[in-house]
Subunit: 470 residues, 2 copies
């Protein structure tokens, strides 16, 4: 029995059995329990991080990761597996050295930011100007920073939902642009991360066309503390920075896609995403080896059923997320004219913590379906987030202007930014049980979304609708 | 009233008031409360780790640390401050690179062990033989390791008293000796540390005269896990190791000593120790900047009293502990003929965790004094350890064969080996309140030991007595 309720009363009191058949719900529960018992997702992440390890977009390991992913998806039993090109400018790190020269001599633990240019031969040595945050940088007089190294000391706050990242990361994304305009020689930032362990956190930085590109590096939180203490001694603090890094020609990597072809409406697609690339310093276990394992395991559970779902389910392993959402941009560009077929998108790219909430951006008629799906996720400890909005995850952001319907399964990110973008993002940081809970949630979501009695509303109408929503 | 009880009954039921005067006990309590309220110890550690930072024995920072310590002790108000020479062969690290070459290419986070020789120009590249522990290395057939890189994977267990260190550290101390005898090219060990963060733990290694010196490095725990996984793939694992390090000529550093000169028996000395040097990779906050802060703060509290103690109290900041107890050896050598004057020795060299127990090695007549001192430490949460033995700490070990009476104030070391000998040993790992508890305990110990109605029995007799004790 498939009955769709559209009345307000029905919206307020959704019942899963009003939306899905008993058989569909029984299958969802079976998927949930089997995925919870398994460790298949962790095994995939272990294999990726062991056999490939760090896999910076455009590096030799990128091509190896693509080949690994294609073979792994084929061996997993997808009905179709293919590659789609994604082009981007590569960046590679040779080394970075950041050290205080005066009033004492000490080396800092540092990582150049992604796309930082190299310093001139022999490096830069200059006095440090310490600023609290981007606002301080934007308002400081040019002659205070001209010819100096700007140190932005803002500190990321820890939060379950990772909400401390957005405000703090501005220093990484835009610090070098503003500092360049004011005549600075280079930028140092306190790592955008929550750990007090002595790891620097790398990550992408932006450049505006026509603005001089400044070398930029992050120092670890303990080193940032030390630099603050040295500044407090009251004498000028001189730092030497040397970065060797290259921005190279355009490289073509690939999004790797596996499809479970739908039995009834194969052209309508539920899209699960994760990204295959990682930064170059850790093995990218949490970011985003975990996501790869979670969504592929969810799909494997569905493929193990006796029947194919009504709609297709695609697993998309995106290229070059870290260096600028290049895989996501290529994916969106290729789907400009058929976004209506992409029923619902959800990416796993926030580590391996347990999912605690769901939010969604779908058309109003599809909302009861989301609530019915949520009813099957609730036994996993997943609540309905109090907002009707979702991005789907970083790699689906480029498709957002097309009106892509999306679900966010919010993971507990309390410790995610302790490891994210550091050497310390390694397999041992993952709890296999937490990954299994994630795989169970994605399996239930994908299965029920593929069986939904209504479409989720991707298209320009959704974009307009959501612009007016809460 | 000073009454010393020697009967067994009295030993079983010591009462502080039987040993010390009311005024002495009141002073002990005042010292305890004032030290608990203060942050002077932390401030000293902050100053050392900020102004000097890493201070490897024999490095330029070693001389700066000695000058810092001499000035700091003089400014603290000690009655006498002086330097005593300690000679040792220096070692310096230029770099180390350890990377898997086959079946995959990945770099490991590694640190050369102290006194490791450099590898030949261009490094070593060889197949890895993985062994469980030193016993496995000792029993493996020579032809299994000949021409190969030996990887010893034993794992240190976490414990409050640090008891996991002794068994595990054999791989670091002696692995290269045994591997050299069997024809190996180099040694890799799993770091002797308890953290799953991606820091390698350095530390000293030994060499036997006449045995070929092998290059040796530790890899972090996550990298050791990764190497184990790569071995389990079943193909030969080839690793490249390149170490540049130098063993240089003899260097003379100094033990830096401050004395509170006793008012009654100045020639009798209570000796508090810590070591001034650190490994080269962190700022040596826990190992042993904390110890420096703790014992100097304890002495400052005593110097702030209206009166000098009966006996002298010396604070000894030892040189070159990490690279072979060189300061401790020089100190013991210089006191061979006057060990009887050294009443009681206690070193703080186990981080900044709270003290939870006391043990002591003293003559039987002095035991009631130890129990009376313990009664004043009990309010700090310090219990009497169930054994009548103590080393006094690493730098007093060379004086142990002379029969040095000693107290061990056992610190909670549950997390100590997460940071010890790593880049991550930085100031933020210290809780100032825990340091204050330590300073309070050392202040009470030093004060009451200096007022003790009996000597503690240092000398050959103590050595013999203790050999027969439990």
């Amino acid at each position: 029995m498939k009955v769709v309720c559209l009345s307000l009363l029905c919206l307020a009191l959704p019942v899963a059995a009003d939306v899905f058949t008993d058989a569909e719900l029984a299958t969802a529960r079976e998927l949930r329990e089997r995925a919870l018992d398994g460790s298949g997702g962790f095994d995939i992440t272990e294999d990726l991080t062991t056999r490939i390890g760090p896999r910076l977009a455009g590096s030799p390991a990128d091509a190896k990761a693509v080949a690994w992913a294609e073979a792994m998806l084929k061996a997993s039993g997808f009905d179709r597996v293919w590659l789609e090109p994604a082009m981007f400018p590569t960046w590679s790190r040779e080394f970075e050295r950041v050290a205080v020269k005066s009033p004492v001599e000490q080396a800092f633990e540092a990582l150049a930011l992604g796309y930082s240019p190299a310093t001139p031969e022999g490096g830069i040595e200059a006095e440090v100007v310490m600023l609290d945050d981007m606002e301080a940088l934007e308002t400081v007089a040019d002659d205070q920073v001209d010819g100096k190294i700007v140190f932005i000391r803002n500190r990321m706050e820890r939060a379950r939902d990772g909400s401390g990242y957005g405000p703090a990361v501005q220093a990484r994304a835009r610090g070098a642009i503003v500092a360049a305009e004011k005549g600075a020689l280079a930028v140092l930032i306190r790592s955008i991360g929550t750990s007090t362990n002595r790891f620097a956190h790398t990550g992408g930085m932006r450049f505006d066309t026509g603005v001089r590109r400044l070398p930029a590096a992050a120092i670890s939180n303990p080193d940032a503390d030390q630099l603050e203490r040295l500044m407090e001694l009251g004498e000028p603090v001189v730092v030497a920075m040397e970065i060797d890094a290259q921005i190279n020609e355009t490289y073509t990597s690939h999004n790797v896609i596996g499809e479970i072809t739908g039995a009834v409406n194969p052209e309508k697609i539920v899209a699960l995403g994760a990204h295959l690339d990682s930064w170059d310093v850790g093995t990218g276990a949490l970011d985003d080896g975990a996501g790869v394992g979670i969504i592929v395991e969810a799909a494997r559970r569905i493929m193990a059923l006796d029947q194919r779902p009504d709609r297709s389910i695609q697993v998309i392993l995106f290229a070059a997320e870290e260096t600028g959402l290049w895989g996501g941009r290529a994916w969106a560009q290729a789907r400009r004219d058929e976004i209506g077929n992409y029923q619902l998108a959800a990416e796993s790219d926030f580590g391996a913590g347990r999912i605690y909430a769901l939010s969604a951006k779908v058309s109003d008629p599809a909302w009861p379906v989301i609530e019915a799906i949520h009813a099957e996720l609730e036994p996993l400890g997943i609540e309905m987030a109090g907002r009707r909005d979702a991005s789907g995850g970083p790699d689906f952001i480029p498709a957002r202007p097309l009106g892509l319907a999306a679900v966010d399964l919010h993971q507990d990110g309390t410790t995610y930014f302790d490891y994210h973008h550091t050497e310390n993002d390694t397999l041992d940081k993952i709890d296999p049980d937490d990954m299994a809970q994630n795989a169970a949630a994605y399996a239930v979501l994908a299965w029920l979304a593929a069986q939904s009695p209504v479409d989720f509303g991707s298209g320009p109408e959704l974009l307009e609708a959501s612009q007016g929503s809460e």
